[in-house]
Each structure stands twice: as C-alpha cells, then as structure tokens.
Amino acid sequence: VITSELENALRRTFTWAAADFENAEQAQERLLQRDYHPRTGNRRRASLAAALATAAAAITAAVLTLSSAGTHGGGTSTVRLAAWTVTKQPDGRVTVTIRQMLDPGRLQRQLRAFGVPANVSVYDAKRDGPKGWDYSAGGMVPSCHIDRGLMNSISPNGLMAKVFFGPHPGTGPGQPFTVWISPSAIPAGVGVALRVGVTPGHMLPSASIYLVKASPQCTGTGG
C-alpha cells in the first residue's frame, strides 16, 4: 500500500518534472502546423459532392456560355484576371475563383460593385500566427468584427449555407478556391469576408470565409 506521504511526494515530483519540458510551445506549434487529415465520415458523400460540384460547375459554365452568347453581357458579368475571376450571374449570385491572391483591393472593390458587402484580405501564417485564420481560436479579420453567432450557423438552414450557397471545389493548399455567394441572402448589417492563405502546405484550406458585421471600415457599408 502506498502511503499518502509517498503519493504526495510522487505528485509533487511529477509536476516538477513535467514542467521541466523545455520549448514545449515550439513543439506544440510544430505539431499544430502539420495536416493530419482527420476523417470526417463523409467519404462516400465527399465523392458524391465532388461529382456534383463538377456537374454544377459544368452547368454553370453552360449557363454562362449561353448568357454571354445570348444576352451580350446583359445578364452575366465577368471580370477575369490571371489571379482571380469574379462572375455575377443573371440571378444576382456571384462566384469568385481565386488562383493567386494578387490585388485583393481590386477583388474587394469588384465584389462590392456586384452587390456583395465584402472584405478581402490576405492571411499570412508567419505574420498572423498558425491559428490566425481560426476565429474560434482568437483569429481575426483585419478591420472587421466576425459574427460568431452567424459563423456557427452551419446547419442546412443556417445563414452560412445560404450565403455561401454553392459547391466549393478545390479547397486544398495551392488549388484554385471557388466561393459562391448569394448577395440576396445576406441580411442587412451583415457582410462577407474572405481571407486567402499564402503559406504553402499549411494546415488550412487555401481560403477561409466568414460572416462579419457590416461596417464602413470592414465592408464599406453602414453598420
């Protein structure tokens, strides 16, 4: 039988020894920068999702082709740069495909011109920290106030799903990132923020999307 005196001595010594771990924070940082590819349980659904995403993209392309051929730009507007493309469809929905994060200011202006109260910024892991993109871990969008309540609305009827309505293929680092935005689903006082990561191989999607409180500093619109 171990006496309480011995138990206390063991507890004290183990606490002391555990606290002696030097550079634990750096070790943690290294560990958290790795991508562990957690299984979501959506393997079958993921392949279905990929197939549907491809189909939806093909349909969209067909719609866009028809629009540009038949309406002479009256319905669909597209602004395409080498780094990114923004398209406004006839029904008002907007798609953004980002290949490189160049000229975020122009992308932001273009989105606002298409009716999206938007904020576009660059996420840099070295500058913003490895968790700087994660609002739940204290990450922030510069000049904006992330609406945590709305961000948690990831249910099928939640606002996140309504605003970012479409498929989002190719979210791996280095892959083009497509965001589908429905401006009509954005309530008054709410805006959309995009942050695009610039650290290759980092454990992130290549971009992060947020719902934020609209403000002149953040989205160029009234609060």
């Binding site: 001595a9 020894a17 555990a18 030097e22 560990l31 958290l32 562990y36 349980g41 099928p156 479409g166």
Partner: protein, 203 residues
Amino acid sequence: MYEGKGQAARQVCMEWVGDVAVKRQFERFAAETSDLLLRTGYLMTGDARDAEDLVQETFLRVARRWHKVRLMDHPAAYARRVLINLVLRDADRRSRRKAELRPGGIGLGGCDAGAARALRQVDDLAEFRWALAQLPARQRAVLVLRYWADLPVAEVAGILGCSEGTVTSTASRAAARLAQALTYGESPAPESATSAGERESAP
C-alpha cells in the same frame, strides 16, 4: 433545370461546410490536448523529441478515427490512451536503448518511507527522469497516469487493460523501484516480464 441542380449544389455546400467544421473541430482538439500529450509523452520517454514524435503519431491515429472519436465524451482521454499504448508497444526497443546507456542492476529493496524520503531528496530532474526511465514502461505508465494525470485507479486500469488490484500493486512496486534507483543511482534488477501487471501489450 438550373434551380433543380441548385438544390444539389446547396447539399454539396452543406457537406463542404460540415467537413470544414469537422476539420476545425480536430484542429481545436489538437490545440487543446497537445500540451497535455506532450508532457505525458515527455514523462513516459524522458526525451522531448521522442515526446513530439509520439504526439504526432497519436494525432495521426486519432485523425484516422476522428469521425468516431469526435463523438466520444472524452476525446482527450482516448488520445492519451493511444499515446500510452504507443509507448508500451515501443517499450522493448526503448528499454534496450536505455539499458545500453546505464547498465547494471541490484536486487529490489525499498519501502514506502524510503521511497518518500528518496523523492524528497530529489534535487536534480535529470536524475529523476533517468530513474523513471529505468522502470518498465508499464510501471512508468501507472505512475504517470496515477500521480501526474491524477487519474483514479479504475481509469488507469481501463487504459492499461488490467484489474484495479494490478494497478495498485504495480504502483507500489514502481514507487519502490523508483526510490531504489534514486537512492542508489543504479538500475533496479529487471523483473520477470510475465509477472502480474508487467506484460508489455498494447490493446
């Protein structure tokens, strides 16, 4: 036709948003547990790099089962169990390496009073880590889980897959061996690998 496909697209969006949420959930889990796991691994191996490797392997294994682990009441407890089992599985290789560093052995001795006195006199953590490393991995695990993680005997028994009585007797024997190593600066004599509670197995 487009609206109909739009419903499908919306469903895809749900999946995507859900997947991102699950991945973020894992990242939060990793951020919240990494310190605990690192220090557990450090006490179990006595080496910071080994501890980091252990935690990385633990996260990889947990990630492979994350669709189930995330539904558990205590995912962190599951991760700790994975880590401990990795150490036990690796125990033979590690113990051989430690033996090369500090060979020797004397008969078992010590008692509770002697053990407490020996621990009170510890003023060098390197010495303590070395003494801890001399214990069989299973004894080390019992001490770390009981007296650092502060887990009840029943939970330690659950992690190690043995009875509560075995945990208690192993803890007593481990404390005596630890005290012996600290007092005499020698590796305790190896115990029979088949003695109760000392089997190196990883469930």
